[in-house]
Amino acid sequence: MHEPVKEGLEDFLRENGSLEFAAHLETCRECRGEVERMREQALVLRVLRAEEELDPSPGFYARVTARIEAQSRPSFWNVFLEPAFGRRLMYASLTLVVLLGTYLISSESSEPLAVATTAEQYLVEENPAVGANPQQDRDAVLVGLATYNE
């Protein structure tokens, strides 16, 4: 669209266009087409205009203040959003995770030793004289392992 038409468009749409503007539209088909489309678009936009100024129902201000009070009141869940509380919750959670993790790891690593100790203890208990005769010891250990029950 030509620059002078851009300048005069708003006046034209208010039906207050200059003669020069109208004369240009007569001669320039491109500007004439675009201006006409914009004019139609402006008319369509006015469908959003309320026919007259309306009032809300009586007691509107009271309802506004009630809404403001409701939105000002902090809810229970807002406590979790406070920075100080959130930090404490985070540290407590991390501590709990570390403690649980430590307990789980330590309880897993102690179980195999108990089994070995139990079997070794069993062998020692059952064969107190181990070390005197290697052949006898070997036989005794084999018998001991074969008969070992957890």
Binding site: M1, E3, A23, Q41
Partner: protein, 221 residues
């Protein structure tokens, strides 16, 4: 082309002289009321509500055409005005600022309700129901209700395609009927800036309308 530019009242080349309209809203009659409201003076806030409640309600009703929804959103608008009053910086008029909040609340509401299809597929307002039942509508010179609803839905979709600033300017210009001079005073921008912004907004709306028209069932006849 040379003959055409010679007859124009304004220069064809170079920048047009800028008209500067700077209204100092800090010194306006309403500024004192706003300052008191910012200081949490309840009477001042009440006066603001009573001064603009009809205007806000009418704007919302014009967009949504439903009294219950308009009432609900109008309450929310003034609640937002209350909580945001401290952010008002007197760069525009109070009405312009409230208008912006109002239109934004309407569009937020529409987004939440996901109004993508024609309004007659959802609930009707009382006015629309009465019109449809009443056979006088057929004899009326106004377009049929379903055409009105389709047009309004199309316009709302169009306006959703442009920026918030363009949307507010177009609504103030075409729906509220303000002149370029009034818009310049209300927004604190100069008239040439307003004209340029309006022109660009209109072009964007035309392009959006062309795209929407290509979608099946989108544009009203």
């Amino acid at each position: 082309m040379a003959g055409f530019t010679a007859t124009l009242p304004f220069p064809a080349t170079g920048e047009a002289p800028r008209t500067r309209i700077r209204v100092d809203y800090r010194a306006s009659e309403e500024a004192e009321l706003v300052r008191r409201a910012q200081a949490r003076d309840e009477l001042a806030f009440r006066e603001i509500v009573e001064r603009y409640q009809a205007k806000v309600y009418s704007i919302i009703f014009g967009i949504l055409r439903n009294r219950n929804d308009a009432e609900d959103i109008a309450q929310q608008v003034f609640a937002k005005v209350y909580f945001s009053m401290g952010n008002f910086d007197f760069r525009s008029s109070l009405l312009t600022w409230i208008y912006k909040i109002t239109v934004n609340e309407c569009y937020d509401y529409l987004r939440k309700k996901r109004v993508r299809k024609l309004v007659y597929e959802s609930d009707f307002s009382e006015e629309e129901s009465l019109l449809m039942q009443n056979s006088e509508a057929a004899m009326d010179h106004r377009p049929a209700v379903d055409t009105q609803l389709a047009q309004r839905d199309f316009v709302l979709k169009l306006l959703a395609k442009v920026s918030e600033e363009d949307r507010n300017l177009m609504l103030l210009k075409e729906v509220e009927g303000h002149s370029v001079e009034e818009l310049a005073q209300m927004t604190g921008m100069n008239e040439n800036t307003i004209k340029v912004k309006l022109f660009r907004a209109r072009q964007k709306l035309l392009k959006a309308a062309q795209r929407l028209s290509r979608l099946p069932g989108a544009a009203p006849s």
